[in-house]
């Protein structure tokens, strides 16, 4: 089944994008492989948070430099992503440690019942790592959209000043924001109907404080926060880097 779907995806990408389509397909499977390798390595006992940060850096390299090429646009995106990653790691770590959302709830007892729970590995770290990997895709997407449209603006009006360039980045960011929020909302919420069916007779106060509900809502909110935070940072860094390049070219 997976092979058939992958082949269809590859075929469609090839028709619409030619060589670029092949690249997309290759990076897509490289990323899948990256996530699987991550799970294998942490199951061998490595630190899940540090490894997740390495995965995020590699993922940004794959999406930015392999898919979009190495240039000033992708370089400024890369720097911005690293800055946002620092903020998000601090936020995720604090919330993850405090809110007791590690592991599984009694809902999944059927699924995990066959396993031993004594695995000698702190599940809090696993869930923090999961959140970091979850948000990296949307940070990359928003960042590259902002920086490439800023580059476009600069190329069309070379006389624009640095402040206006920053403003145009923020403007584009605002436009992308609503669709990004929609994309994330549906992608994360799509597996959530089952939860509500299971708890259809529980009072609302139990649902709001439930482990699975909190896990999903925190995941959603963290990705929203990350995709907003990246906009001003990318606008600022890109306006600095792209503008400097333009000055150098003029001289």
């Amino acid at each position: 089944m997976i092979t058939i779907l992958s082949m269809i995806l590859f075929f469609l990408l090839l028709i619409t994008g030619k060589s670029r389509g092949t690249k997309t397909f290759v990076t897509f499977f490289l990323s899948t492989f990256l996530i699987i390798t991550y799970i294998i390595l942490i199951s061998l006992g490595m630190n899940a948070i540090i490894l997740a940060l390495i995965v995020c850096i590699l993922a940004s390299c794959i999406s930015l430099f392999m898919l979009n090429g190495y240039n000033l646009k992708t370089l400024s995106s890369f720097i911005s992503i690293m800055i946002v990653l620092v903020f998000i790691t601090i936020l995720t770590y604090t919330i993850g440690k405090l809110s007791n959302i590690q592991g599984f709830s009694s809902d999944s007892v059927e699924t995990i019942g066959a396993f031993s729970y004594l695995i000698n590995y702190d599940m809090t770290k696993v869930i923090i790592g999961m959140y970091l990997i979850c948000v990296i895709g949307t940070i990359i997407d928003t960042s590259i959209s902002v920086s490439s449209s800023m580059n476009e603006v600069l190329e069309n009006n070379p006389k624009i000043n640095e402040k206006e360039l920053y403003k145009s980045g923020m403007n584009v960011g605002g436009d992308i924001l609503s669709t990004t929020i929609n994309t994330l909302f549906f992608a994360i919420i799509s597996s959530f109907i089952g939860f509500f069916m299971w708890h259809r007779n529980s009072p609302i106060e139990n649902i709001i404080n439930h482990k699975v509900f909190t896990q999903t809502v925190i995941e959603l909110l963290l990705s929203f926060i990350a995709s907003i935070l990246i906009i001003p940072i990318t606008s600022y860094i890109s306006s600095k880097i792209l503008y400097k390049k333009d000055l150098i070219k003029d001289e």
Binding site: L67, A187, G194, M197
Partner: protein
């Protein structure tokens, strides 16, 4: 000046709501206990350490408010299935014997963390993009309300309603309302709405057909909450339908606003040029959009596959047991993203250019 007042107001509102959620015990009917002291007894198992805790805490609400109470809890280092309770954690308990004995811990009070993140999110979106931020928030709110209503309709009639048909209708409603709210009434919005609906229908029927034809080897038993879902096959189709929905809307609004921009700047622009520049724009989005889907959805398999591997399951088995359904959902979402491009391109050109001939 006006902006400053708005910011101060926003800040005050944020602080108030956080203080409120830290003291909202009166809203709950279940007794809440705030932990003041923990005595731990460490045990060494062959595999890992676990602790027997005797917890002391004060009841915060209800009839037995301010009573001091003792509870026993067992916790382990890894915390796969137990609750790790620390000082100041607030827990829900079941009381008996006039509020002097706590039978069991029902759960942990987690609402404050959701509210803190929600406040950060709203503050950020309003400071980064003021007007557009409000629109995005509004469309998000509408989507949440529609989701809740649809879930209520389904849970009350789950034996008679076909979940797939219900959610196909809901998906159309999602598309119309969220595109309308964020982009206003215009030809651009109309073309985005029509192309989203058509892309959704075409790509969904394709995925549906492929899975019906070749998907006999799909095992649904690892699906979460399968015990309460009678119609699990249709339920799986619903998650496929919803997963790519946002992405399809993203593609179609991007294409229709870009083409609208081009046509407005040069009303005499030829159709082949429009097609070419539309394709150029999409080349940039498709790759990263596929990555968004992959990282956002595939990351959710990490805990369960991790647990399986820690228990000595073979990697290939663990991934195909717990990751296959997720990967199928992601791949179909990616297919709909790629399909949405030509569909939105031609529909947008037809609608935007058609009226000007």
């Amino acid at each position: 000046m006006k902006l400053r007042i708005k910011l101060i107001l926003l800040f005050a509102l944020s602080i108030t709501s956080i203080i409120f959620v830290y003291n909202d015990y009166f809203l709950y009917s279940t007794p809440i206990v705030k932990i003041t002291n923990i005595e731990e007894e460490k045990h060494d198992n062959i595999k890992e350490e676990y602790y027997n805790q005797i917890i002391t805490g004060i009841i915060q609400n209800g009839k037995y408010k301010d009573n001091v109470i003792e509870i026993k809890n067992k916790t382990s280092k890894s915390g796969v299935y137990d609750e790790q309770i620390h000082k100041n954690t607030e827990i829900f308990v079941e009381l008996s014997n006039n509020g002097t004995i706590a039978n069991s811990i029902i759960g942990i009070k987690r609402d404050k963390y959701i509210v803190i993140l929600l406040v950060i999110f709203i503050d950020l979106i309003l400071t980064v993009s003021n007007k557009k931020g409000i629109k995005s928030l509004l469309s998000l709110l509408v989507n949440i309300i529609i989701s809740i209503i649809s879930i209520i309709i389904f849970k009350n009639n789950y034996k008679s309603i076909n979940i797939l048909i219900l959610y196909l209708l809901v998906a159309v409603l999602f598309i119309i309302l969220s595109l309308y709210i964020t982009n206003g009434k215009s030809k651009k919005t109309l073309s985005a709405i029509i192309s989203s609906i058509i892309s959704l229908l075409i790509s969904f029927s394709l995925s549906f057909l492929i899975i019906k034809l070749f998907g006999k080897d799909i095992s649904f038993w690892t699906m979460e909450y399968i015990e309460v879902i009678y119609d699990y096959e249709n339920f799986f189709y619903v998650s496929i339908l919803l997963c790519g929905l946002g992405a399809i809307m993203d593609i179609s609004i991007t294409i229709s606003s870009a083409l609208n921009e081009l046509i407005e700047k040069n009303p005499k622009i030829k159709v082949p040029i429009l097609i070419k520049s539309g394709k150029e724009i999409c080349k940039d989005i498709v790759g990263t959009m596929n990555h968004v889907m992959l990282y956002t959805c595939y990351s959710s398999i990490i805990p369960i596959v991790f647990l399986a591997l820690r228990n000595g399951m073979i990697i290939a088995n663990a991934i195909s047991f717990y990751g296959n359904l997720e990967l199928i959902t992601i791949l179909t979402a990616c297919i709909s993203i790629v399909l949405a491009i030509p569909i939105s391109l031609y529909i947008s050109i037809y609608i935007l250019k058609g009226g000007r001939k």
